[in-house]
Symmetry: C2
Subunit: 429 residues, 2 copies
């Protein structure tokens, strides 16, 4: 067997602990798969004195991550700290020094993937980050490799378990957003500060990573149009049910003729679409490709064990390559398609209006749509008198024209209020 591969682990939180445990317990099996033993050479943590109950020689703990990642006896750096500020510098210097990197850090990838990949390409190091999207669901490797000979048209993903749990509960029980969030928090599905999840930041990071791989283009997190689910009401969910749909927080990556659209927002999804059935805190990513047709990948998208599984999968791949002396391959960004502004994205709206119950209302509303060149697909009138409402579903149109139409509607005499505006994805309602 070949010489041992030296591993440095940064971070010993939930995922780090699980990775260290598996490294210790499955050492023989991992060595057989890699063709060389994996040897832990250091674990960087903020407070080495506070680490407890880990199957790791205490002498291996260090506070100095920056020194650890470039040590000569380290071949692969496994980064499980999270955040962007510190990790960016550590990983760039590790890659520049020819150390390969395995990371689960979606925020860092969404911000600095290009710089990290350039550093890896410069030194021949490997950079793997399967765990950053969908935890153990193999997504990035299929996009990067299996579909490499195909042309991806669209990726629709449920990539945030917290919001999927909340929306699934609202759909199943009619609960309000606040009540469903409270339940999610009680069950540990939502963090004490749920902003990153419910406002769509987490999903936007993942959208940037998925779009980059699907379209061979550099997409950063701040290029992703992002709307969260805090405005989704029980009435919206009921309205979706009435039209045979459910509401999901989707990440949408689409290739159009003019460029690509990358966005995260709540959307009505017809129940017949496979994503509509993805409940609880599960994640799923639905891919439409030219030749492959429709594919779906499904599984638990979070948690210590599933994330650790993805990290170890990457680690085995990287360590095997290092053991065999194979350099990394640069990720393909040959297309570099333009990222369209949200206004130029083609999408469809489901609009619910409070209207005056008098003749001519529908004509006035319809005129507002047609002035913006937005074609109406269906109109449904609900209620009478003071409670009259109009529900309109449009055909596909520019998002800018749809948004301008909604703005016009707000100023229409016949419209008392715009109750809700939701995009429709995954098929016609």
């Amino acid at each position: 067997m070949r010489r041992a591969i030296g591993i440095a682990v940064l971070g010993a939180g939930t995922v780090g602990t699980e990775v260290l445990r598996l490294l210790a317990e499955q050492g023989d099996e991992l060595a057989a798969r890699v063709g060389a033993p994996l040897e832990l050479r250091g674990v960087a943590v903020r407070r080495p004195d506070r680490v407890r109950d880990l199957p790791v020689d205490p002498a291996l703990f260090t506070k100095d991550a920056a020194a650890l990642v470039i040590r000569p006896d380290v071949d692969v750096v496994v980064e499980l700290v999270g955040g962007v500020e510190l990790t960016r510098g550590w990983l760039l210097s590790a890659l520049a020094a020819g150390k390969s990197v395995v990371t689960a850090n979606k925020a860092l990838l969404a911000e600095a993937a290009a710089a990290l990949q350039d550093a890896a390409a410069g030194s021949g190091a490997h950079l793997y980050y399967e765990a950053s999207v969908g935890a153990a669901i193999p997504l990035l490797r299929p996009l990067r490799e299996s579909l490499a000979g195909d042309r991806v048209h669209r990726v629709l993903g449920i990539v945030n378990g917290t919001t999927n749990y909340i929306l699934s509960r609202m759909d199943a029980t009619g609960a309000s957003f606040d009540d469903a969030l409270e339940e999610a928090t009680a069950l540990g599905y939502a963090e004490a500060d749920p902003t990153g999840d419910v406002e769509g930041f987490d999903a936007a990071y993942k959208a940037a990573i998925l779009a980059s791989l699907a379209f061979h283009t550099t997409v950063t997190g701040d290029q992703v149009h992002r709307e969260g689910i805090t405005e989704v009401t029980a009435a919206d969910i009921a309205s979706a049910r009435a039209t045979g749909a459910t509401i999901k927080l989707l990440c949408v990556c689409e290739r159009g003729e003019e460029g690509i659209s990358v966005r995260v927002h709540p959307a009505m999804v017809p129940r017949a679409h496979p994503l509509a059935g993805v409940g609880d805190a599960f994640n799923a990513v639905f891919v439409e490709a030219e030749s492959a047709g429709s594919l779906m990948f499904y599984g638990r998208g979070a948690g210590g064990a599933p994330t650790a599984s993805a990290v170890l999968g990457d680690l085995v791949t990287v360590a095997r390559a290092v053991a065999e002396g194979r350099p990394g391959t640069a990720e393909s960004r040959h297309a570099e398609l333009p990222v369209l502004p949200m206004a130029d994205t083609i999408t469809r709206y489901h609009v619910s209006l409070d209207v005056a119950d008098r003749p001519g209302v529908l004509a006035a509303v319809a005129a507002a749509f047609s002035q913006r060149d937005v074609s109406i697909r269906t109109v449904r009138q609900e209620g009478l008198g003071g409670d009259a409402s109009l529900v309109l579903v449009t055909h596909a149109a520019r998002d800018g024209d749809l948004a301008a139409t909604v703005e016009d509607l707000r100023h229409l005499d016949a419209v008392r209020s715009v109750r809700s505006v939701l995009r429709v994805e995954g098929g016609e309602l």
Copy 2:
């Protein structure tokens, strides 16, 4: 850009035609992804004079596949002929000569994977065969690489679209097997001779490939226990419905304490299981792993375009490696777990009996089970008098004991006939 990579294609049937078309149309994009142009150096077909309407220089056609695969200007051989007799020799000699191989040939892989892999390892050639299971659904790469750091417990797959279409129609319409097969044939889902599909041969090849990768063990097609769906009746489907289940032809790969079980048979699957919802001719593979938890991969498992997509995905990976001078890595077969005989497999039965309607019948039947140490989970009595039937669902037990129990029941006075015996997979009924 690097020197061109020479490609030889064997076979120009449905998939071959599609691959040749994509190679011609997407040449520039493929070259960008590979980092080197792909150059078609030859296409082996049985009757070169019969080939029509392909975007290929006629001078490239040849009848002599054996000579083509070892030509000095060929780097990668794409085998799309199928069958075992001829292809085995061609691919072994290609690999021995250091040519990398991409193939969709499940029968060959199920019979000769070990020999092919040894040949590849010997010369440093690459061997990829993603298209052999689930067409464009990325399955093999996730099993081989993404889950490389995890421990797979079980793989449950719907890997044959023809039988899934037939069973889905029987479930939806109450049709008999013969009527559903006729419909599948009319729609082109079933071949004129459907034996390979409906008797489970196709699924058994795929089971061998999946089990080999999941358990790092050499499993050949003839080690797979195989039962087809020709005996599944409309009454079985109705009985499944009554217990909240549906019948699927499953490929089951399980790791037990004594070894692994690899089998293909119709099984009752509870409707709550994600596989139960996989209808039409779709395929899906459900994987349970130690850390990753439950994962599912879903998509079209057959057809020219999806299969060609998987072939091109492999081709890009292999060509990129060849362009960069990276040798292939031997597939891990380090575990070499024993394949259990079917009798030693642990499973559960759903048994439907025609019984005499008289006192003591249930006691006699229950005694037959307990004598074989098979524990009964539920009993349901249906009908009265001449039509009385007993439906029993067992707890998990050795398949040999379950089969012996059924044999005993056939000889019991109180039992008029054993109507059906089906295994239960994917959860309790």
